[in-house]
């Protein structure tokens, strides 16, 4: 670990976390610590538990924590509701953003932003002030104003959905953002927009976890750490070159680490 960062308090500490859904164990002792300013990448085969880890950190009700702790800014959050986690600054960018028919995107974004602002003891924004704020943030993801008047994610293309996620991240200004395969299904232009959006939003006070299969996102956003997951565990941690090696050699190469852990 880099010594400079160690002086700061961690944003997120996942300690020996095990979790199951329908009595089926998915995570089997995951530990991960994120300090301010750090970018972590988590890679691994489909079904290794990457997405589950991100959902559990966000508080998805379908998973039970069977062992271990999740700490956010030093506080145990195991029993917090998803909305409390979001309000306090945890953001999950969904792999498959959910469509909510009939609910206008603009209203959704405003209610969500105000929930976070309320937590931060900032003044809640009325429709006009929010319009101003959202206009500015739309620039970051190069989205058209027309997206705001549509229903949440309904009829959005894959790329539009992902950009809408980054827009939400920009509005919520989280302390930590976990982006679950935000790069999948994006063409090169969209990928650049999304990557540059993430870079603009992140800073020395925030932490980012990128869950991805591909090097191409990591070419745009260089991680401090790369973790490889397999069967509910982190089996190897390295720096950005680990991702390059993984790209070259494939996940089979990592299988030999399983025994070592």
């Amino acid at each position: 670990m880099q010594s400079k960062m160690k002086e700061l308090d961690p944003i997120l500490e996942v300690e020996n976390l095990s979790a199951s859904t329908d009595n089926l164990p998915i995570l089997k002792g995951v530990s991960l610590t994120v300090y301010p300013g750090e970018i972590h990448a988590i890679m691994g085969r489909n079904g290794c538990g990457k997405s589950t880890l991100s959902k559990i950190i966000a508080g998805h009700p379908s998973y039970n924590i069977t062992n271990g702790d999740i700490k956010f800014l030093g506080e145990n959050i195991n029993s917090l509701e998803p909305e409390e986690r979001s309000q306090s600054g945890i953001f999950l960018g969904f792999q498959y953003p959910i469509e909510i028919p009939g609910v206008s995107n603009l209203e959704f974004l405003r209610v969500s932003t105000n929930a976070r602002r309320k937590f931060l003891k900032k003044e809640e924004l009325d429709t006009f002030d929010f319009e101003e704020l959202v206009k500015e943030k739309l620039e970051i993801v190069k989205m058209d104003h027309a997206f705001l008047s549509r229903s949440v994610n309904q009829g959005f293309s894959g790329g539009e959905k992902k950009r809408n996620e980054i827009l939400q991240m920009a509005l919520l200004e989280p302390k930590i953002a976990i982006l679950d395969e935000t790069d999948s299904g994006l063409d090169i232009d969209a990928l650049r927009i999304v990557a540059s959006g993430i870079k603009k939003i992140s800073n020395a006070q925030t932490g980012i976890i990128l869950i991805t299969h591909y090097q191409r996102l990591l070419d745009e956003i260089e991680p401090n750490y790369v973790h490889v997951m397999s069967d509910g565990q982190i089996i190897k941690t390295g720096q950005s070159d680990l991702a390059l090696e993984l790209e070259k050699k494939g996940y089979e190469w990592t299988d030999k680490f399983i025994k070592e852990t």
């Binding site: 966000a58 508080g59 998805h60 009700p61 379908s62 509701e81 998803p82 909305e83 986690r85 979001s86 309000q87 999950l92 969904f94 953003p97 959910i98 469509e99 909510i100 028919p101 009939g102 609910v103 206008s104 209203e107 959704f108 209610v111 969500s112 929930a115 976070r116 937590f119 229903s151 939400q168 919520l172």
Partner: protein, 480 residues
């Protein structure tokens, strides 16, 4: 499902209108026979034609059978165990609001419908009906200046006998159905509206129906007549106290629109629905029908049905005039053991007539919610069109939704279009909203009002806000 219990909590309904007003009432004995019908008519000092109307209806009703085709299950109603006339005791003739029993004014205050001169709602004229009688109507003089008549139907019988005799029972004949016949025999009070030729009613008109006594039935009767090129927007609200017995409510509403006239009729129905075990609640059997008699006339029904243990209601349009338009926008929310069988009938008789049906049913708890609708194109309805959209939303996995669309076309040169969908509020949707900081309850109500948007957009503005609030209230509970 982890969230199942949470959902159950959230849809628990706190009923805020369940209080009883302690007031001396004049009630007649229980039961129904010809003498009772005569007694009601006599108490109301009615002209002979009306007594005859009632007696004819009563004799028809005796020969009819209670309908059983609706997807509803309830214990048999004992028609002899109901009081058919109940009125708060007050002075014989009330000339001004100051003479209304303060208890009654207080009751309506509590319901959010202040009636006194100082406090009354500024942009809506209100006719307040308490049990069997209308107790007050606001803004009468102001309306009279425009020639608009807005009063209780009992007063209309006295002061506008010719209009009543001409139109009463012409849209919903006494023999129409079992409950309409019963209403025609024993109806107590209700509202009467007359908009003269060329007049756009200067404000919304509203009737507020309050059932107070537990053993009386409520049988109100509403008649609205819009003369040529006139228009009116009418709102109706209803609440009742919480009793552990069922109260029968069988109303009849008749609308008549002449050439180029338009009537918009909006209802927010929030009768007591019974408790979570299905004990108590109003049995709501209502016949509402509008007749688009004139050319280019328009009748639009919008309803938000959230209350009653049983709802049996099909606001309909008879489209006689050429190019007349019928609309039906409905949100029906059922929870716990509530049952609703509701929908509409659009009967296209004249040529180039048009109708639109948008129905949104939301079922939560163990409730049952059915849409039942008929679209009929008569032989002369050439070039007529109908569009129907019926969507159902299920909350939890114990609720049920049904759609029964009936289509009858005798006119090949007409179009009928029907769309239907069913959706469920998914755990993933809730989690998505929650993960954006939105509280569980708010997430549910956001999705429900999103689902109802098409209908809420049709409601008058103040009403839309009220409806939205009402649904949120219904879906509010003690989470966590």
């Amino acid at each position: 499902m982890v969230n199942e219990n949470l959902v159950k909590d959230v849809v628990k309904e706190p009923y805020k209108y369940g209080f009883v007003t302690d007031i001396e009432t004049e009630k007649i004995e229980k039961g129904l026979n010809e003498d009772i019908v005569r007694l009601i008519s006599q108490k109301k000092e009615e002209p002979k034609f009306l007594l005859d109307f009632r007696l004819k209806a009563f004799r028809k009703w005796q020969k009819m059978k209670e309908p059983d085709w609706a997807a509803l299950g309830y214990k048999k109603i004992d028609y002899q165990d109901i009081i058919y006339y109940s009125a708060p005791k007050q002075k014989e003739k009330i000339s001004s609001l100051d003479e209304v029993d303060p208890k009654l004014l207080e009751t309506f205050d509590k319901l959010g419908i202040p009636l006194t001169e100082q406090k009354k709602l500024t942009n809506v004229a209100v006719d307040a009906v308490f049990d069997s009688v209308s107790i007050a109507t606001t803004f009468r003089e102001e309306l009279a200046e425009h020639g608009v008549i807005f009063c209780s139907i009992s007063e209309a019988v006295k002061n506008h006998e010719d209009l009543i005799e001409k139109y009463l029972g012409t849209v919903v004949p006494a023999s129409d159905n079992y409950f309409a016949a019963l209403n025609s025999a024993v109806f107590s009070d209700g509202s009467f509206v007359y908009i003269p030729k060329g007049v756009t009613c200067p404000m919304d008109l509203s009737s507020y129906f309050r059932i107070n006594s537990g053993d009386s039935g409520q049988f109100e009767r509403t008649l609205i007549i819009a003369e040529e090129s006139s228009s009116v927007s009418y709102l109706e609200g209803c609440t009742a106290p919480m009793f552990d017995t069922n109260t029968l409510h069988a109303a009849v509403v008749e609308l008549i629109a002449l050439d180029d006239a338009s009537i918009k009729y909006s209802t927010v129905q929030n009768w007591y629905a019974g408790d979570e075990k299905g004990i108590g609640g109003i049995f709501n059997f209502v016949t509402k029908r509008g007749k688009c008699l004139g050319k280019r006339s328009k009748i639009s029904w919008s309803q938000v049905e959230t209350g009653s243990a049983i709802t049996w209601k099909y606001p309909s349009c008879l489209l006689l005039g050429e190019e007349s338009v019928g609309e039906f926008y409905s949100v029906a929310l059922t929870n716990n053991l509530q049952q609703a069988d509701t929908g509409t009938k659009m009967i296209h008789i004249g040529p180039k007539t048009k109708s639109t049906i948008v129905s949104k049913g939301i079922s939560a708890g163990n409730s049952k919610n059915s849409y039942r609708g008929l679209v009929k194109m008569g032989t002369k309805a050439t070039g007529s069109r109908n569009y129907s959209q019926c969507d159902s939303m299920l909350i939890g996995d114990q609720a049920s939704a049904n759609t029964f669309p009936y289509i009858k076309s005798q006119q090949p040169n007409s179009e009928i279009e029907h769309e239907a969908s069913t959706c469920r509020i998914s755990e993933d949707q809730l989690f998505y909203l929650q993960s954006r900081g939105i509280e569980f309850e708010e997430a549910v109500s956001m999705m429900v009002s999103g689902f109802c948007r098409d209908v809420f957009n049709q409601l008058p503005m103040e009403f839309a806000a009220e409806a939205d609030k009402l649904l949120a209230l219904k879906l509010e509970g003690s989470v966590g």
